[in-house]
C-alpha cells in the first residue's frame, strides 16, 4: 500500500514495505510560547527556522498547525502555507480542527498534501472528506469518535474502518487514507500504549492501509521522555506503523535505526549518511 505525497516537485511515498516517513511536528503553537508569539506578531522568520531545522534533521513532510486562540486561522493558515511552499519543496501536512481553515490552506498548497485530520465523528467526516476529495489530497483518520478514544483495540479498528469506508464512498482512493491509531500517555494509564500497539496490528492485518502515529504523547508526565518515546516508536514501527509525526531533531536517528534493523535500509546507507552528517 502506497500513499504518495507531493511538494512543488518533490515526492514522498509512505510505503507499507518501505522506510518510515517522518512528519516534522514542530510547527504547532500548542504549548510553544515562542511560536505562539511569532504567529501573533506575524514573524514568519521563526516559522521558517523551524522548517529548516526539521528538514536538516531528516523530516520528509512538514506539519503546519497555526491554531492560536484569538488569531484568525482561516486567514493565517493559507498565509503561512503560501510562504512555506515558496521557500521549501516539501509535501505539507495541513493540521487544523477548523474545516474552513483547511479549505483555505488547501487552496495555497502545491502538489499533493496530507490533511490532518478527520476522525470517526460524523460531522467531521462530512466537513473534511469532501475537501480532501476535491483537492485530491491524502488524509489522516484518527481512531476516535463522538464517544472519545476507545480503550478497546477492536473498537478503534471499527472507527478506522468507518473512516475508510466513508472516504472510499466519496471517491477517495483507499491508499490516500492514513490511519492514526492514537496513543495516550502511559504516565496516566500504563496500558495505554499496549492498546495502540494492538490496534496497529489489527489495522495492518484487516485494512492494510498505512499507519501514522504521533510519538510524543506517550511519555507525558514521566521523566526522561526521550527514552520512552524511542522505545515506543520502535515497538510501533515493529507492529506496522510507517509514518510518524514527531520531532525529527530528537527522534530521526532512532527511526533510521528501526528501518535499518527491519531490513529497509540497504547497506545501512541512510543510517550511515545521517550519522556522518551529524558528526560533521
Amino acid at each position: 500500500m502506497e500513499t504518495v505525497l507531493r511538494g512543488r516537485s518533490s515526492e514522498v511515498r509512505i510505503d507499507s514495505q518501505g522506510p518510515v516517513v517522518m512528519i516534522g511536528e514542530k510547527i504547532n503553537p500548542t504549548g510553544q510560547k515562542k511560536l505562539t508569539e511569532a504567529l501573533k506578531e506575524d514573524n514568519y522568520g521563526y516559522v521558517k527556522e523551524l522548517a529548516e531545522r526539521q528538514l536538516e534533521h531528516g523530516a520528509h513532510v512538514l506539519d503546519i498547525n497555526v491554531g492560536v486562540p484569538g488569531l484568525d486561522e482561516v486567514a493565517l493558515l493559507p498565509r503561512i502555507v503560501k510562504r512555506i511552499v515558496s521557500d521549501f519543496d516539501v509535501p505539507l501536512c495541513l493540521d487544523s480542527g477548523n474545516p474552513e481553515a483547511l479549505a483555505a490552506g488547501l487552496k495555497e498548497v502545491s502538489g499533493k498534501p496530507l490533511v490532518n485530520s478527520v476522525n470517526g465523528e460524523h460531522d467531521r467526516l462530512e466537513a473534511v472528506l469532501p475537501l480532501v476529495k476535491d483537492r485530491q489530497a491524502a488524509v489522516i483518520g484518527l481512531t476516535m469518535d463522538e464517544q472519545g478514544i476507545p480503550t478497546d483495540p477492536e473498537r478503534r479498528l471499527a472507527i478506522a474502518e468507518k473512516i475508510l469506508n466513508r472516504a472510499v464512498q466519496l471517491g477517495i482512493p483507499k491508499q490516500d487514507v492514513v490511519i492514526d491509531t492514537l496513543v495516550l500517555t502511559v504516565g496516566a494509564d500504563q496500558n495505554a500504549a499496549k492498546v495502540t500497539l494492538r490496534t496497529i496490528e489489527l489495522v495492518r492485518e484487516r485494512l492494510g492501509v498505512n499507519i501514522n502515529l504521533g510519538a510524543s504523547n506517550v511519555s507525558f508526565g514521566l521523566p526522561d521522555r526521550q527514552t520512552i518515546n524511542q522505545a515506543f516508536m520502535a515497538l510501533a514501527i515493529g507492529a506496522g506503523a510507517n509514518c510518524m509525526i514527531t520531532d525529527p531533531v530528537k527522534l530521526a536517528r532512532s527511526i533510521l535505526a528501526c528501518d535499518l534493523i527491519l531490513g529497509r535500509d540497504p547497506y545501512g546507507k541512510r543510517y550511515i549518511v545521517s550519522t556522518r552528517k551529524r558528526l560533521a
Binding site: G70, E146, V186, G187, A188, G221
Partner: protein, 214 residues
C-alpha cells in the same frame, strides 16, 4: 514513628495496603477520623504535590499516592458520616467537565482524582459537555467552583462562552470558573475573564481551594 507520620509516609510511598491498615489501626485506637485524614494522609499528599511540582516525583507516582490515600479514607468515611464529627469536603463542591466538542478527558480525570483527596466533593460531568449543562448543574447544586478543561484550540472557544453566559445570567460572582488544558495559557485565561487557571493538577487543587474559599 507516630501513626500520623506513618500515614503520610504510606501515601508518599503510594502504598494502598498500608494506608488501609493504618486507617483501621486509627479506628481501633479511637482517633478522630477527620483529624487523622487532615494531619496524616493529607500531609502526605501535600508532600507529593510539592515533589511533583519540583520535578522530584512524576505523574504516575502522584496518581498512585492519591489512589492509596483514597483507599485509606474509604475505611474512615463511615465513621465520619455516622458521627457527623466533621466533613471531608470542607472546600465544598467542584463541578468538573471537559468542554463541549472535546473528548480528551485524561487531564480532567487527574484533576478530579487530586481534588477528591483535597477536601472537595466532585461532580464530574464527563467529556464533551455543553456549556448549558455545566451551568445548570453548577447552579442546581450551588457549586463552589467550576473546573473546565480543553485540549484543542478549536474547543477552547467554549470557555469564554461559558463565562459570558454566567455573566449574562448574573451568576458569575457565585460560580467561579477555573480553566486548564494543554493549549490554555494563564494569559488567555485572564483575557477571557476566567477566575483561575492551573497548568497541572497540583496547581488546580491550589486554585480551586483559593476560589472556593471566597
Amino acid at each position: 514513628m507516630d501513626i500520623l507520620k506513618q500515614m503520610a509516609e504510606a501515601v508518599i510511598a503510594g502504598d494502598a495496603e498500608h494506608c488501609v491498615s493504618l486507617a483501621k489501626q486509627a479506628m481501633e485506637n479511637n482517633l478522630d477520623p477527620v483529624e487523622v485524614i487532615q494531619q496524616g494522609f493529607s500531609k502526605g499528599m501535600d508532600t507529593v504535590g510539592g515533589k511533583f511540582e519540583s520535578g522530584e516525583m512524576f505523574l504516575p507516582e502522584m496518581m498512585q499516592a492519591a489512589e492509596a490515600m483514597k483507599g485509606g479514607v474509604a475505611v474512615l468515611k463511615p465513621a465520619i458520616e455516622s458521627t457527623g464529627s466533621g466533613s471531608l469536603t470542607e472546600f465544598g463542591k467542584a463541578v468538573l467537565a471537559t468542554i463541549q466538542g472535546d473528548m480528551h478527558d485524561i487531564g480532567k480525570n487527574i484533576v478530579k482524582l487530586l481534588l477528591s483527596t483535597s477536601g472537595f466533593e466532585i461532580i464530574d460531568l464527563g467529556k464533551d459537555v455543553k456549556v448549558a449543562v455545566i451551568i445548570d448543574k453548577a447552579e442546581e447544586i450551588h457549586a463552589d467552583v467550576i473546573g473546565v478543561s480543553a485540549l484543542m484550540t478549536t474547543t477552547m472557544g467554549y470557555m469564554p462562552e461559558l463565562i459570558q453566559e454566567l455573566q449574562e445570567l448574573g451568576i458569575k460572582e457565585e460560580l467561579p470558573v477555573m480553566v486548564g488544558g494543554a493549549p490554555v495559557t494563564e494569559e488567555w485565561a485572564k483575557e477571557i475573564g476566567a477566575d483561575g487557571y492551573a497548568k497541572d493538577a497540583v496547581g488546580a487543587v491550589r486554585t480551586a481551594k483559593g476560589l472556593a474559599k471566597k
